[in-house]
Symmetry: C2
Subunit: 197 residues, 2 copies
């Protein structure tokens, strides 16, 4: 797409996040985003349906990656292995170069209730994508839904840790640790050992 | 509230659900709801902020009940016992007389994407209420969030079972079974025994 405008999507995203941070999300227009990126409005609309999509388009990509990764696991893989594969598939979005963007994005979303709601809905979408993919491999509905919640929680814990201002640990390592930690908590919660509040 | 209008809230709710089912949610006005209930518009607004609140006001009551029930448990109660107390606290909303309303409500929400989104957000609110109450008793953040997701999943599974057209089993019984079942699945998921997808 748009080979005459190198990195257009990335430039638009950076321009939008900078403008949202400077003037607020509501006050920023698509024209201003395109101007700041040195691109046209029609280029913007080739990459994003609207300015909200700059913040949330990545979530749809993530849902698709999670789903594809789970569907690609070996038939005998455990559910934990499926979740690990899903979390790993998100790694390309969480490289060191994208660390500052993640921080900016989080601050912008936190500042606007409409965006916080959209984030919650996108998170529910991630959970559905995981549950659907697990069901497609034969998991029963309840297990698929529980495992999906565990996976999303592992993902959001890992993301928060990775996006912390001074973090230098790679996302994949953090994600594996978060998943193992949640699995251990699930085991304890299920058997109620050592888990008195 | 409004002691000269017996059961005003219940009458307004039944009138609203009937009108939503007949004419659709979007086409129904507050005036029509009040008329159908034989009450005034100002009575409507003493009970509900808007027509959407007729469908979702109960969720806020539920969040409060879940939270109060968990905070009222004995200090040594397990997390599972806290979740059981939360689920039990919802029983007054799921009596046999309210069974037809639950079915109507579900059909109305399923028909409108804005309402489905609102339902997801309210569900996230239930999860936050449970997690907050568990943290207030000393649970660590990650365990509180995982347990809250398990609790909400148990609740939504139980609700779906209870609200099924021909169900006659009492809600509390269903809720306990759903919670125990999810705890067993959490244990298995954590230890990965017998859980190949």
């Amino acid at each position: 797409m748009a080979r005459w405008e190198p990195n257009a999507r990335d430039r638009l995203e950076r321009a939008a996040l900078a403008l949202f941070a400077e003037h607020g999300y509501d006050a920023t227009t698509v024209n201003e985003i395109a101007d700041r990126a040195g691109l046209t409005k029609s280029t913007f609309f080739r990459h994003f349906a609207d300015k909200r999509e700059v913040l949330f388009g990545g979530q749809d990509v993530l849902s698709q990656r999670f789903s594809d990764a789970i569907r690609a696991t070996a038939p005998a893989a455990t559910i934990g292995a499926c979740l690990a594969a899903a979390l790993e598939s998100a790694a390309p979005a969480f490289t060191p170069e994208r660390h500052d963007l993640a921080l900016q994005r989080r601050a912008i979303i936190a500042a606007t209730s409409e965006l916080r709601e959209r984030e919650l809905l996108k998170r529910a979408g991630l959970s559905s994508a995981i549950a659907d993919a697990l069901r497609a491999r034969g998991a029963d509905d309840t297990t698929a839904r529980l495992a999906a919640e565990l996976g999303v929680l592992a993902f959001s814990t890992a993301f928060a840790h990775w996006a912390a201002p001074k973090n230098r640990q790679p996302y994949t390592e953090i994600a594996h640790t978060a998943l193992r930690d949640l699995q251990a908590r699930a085991a304890a919660l299920g058997s109620e050992a050592d888990l008195r509040a």
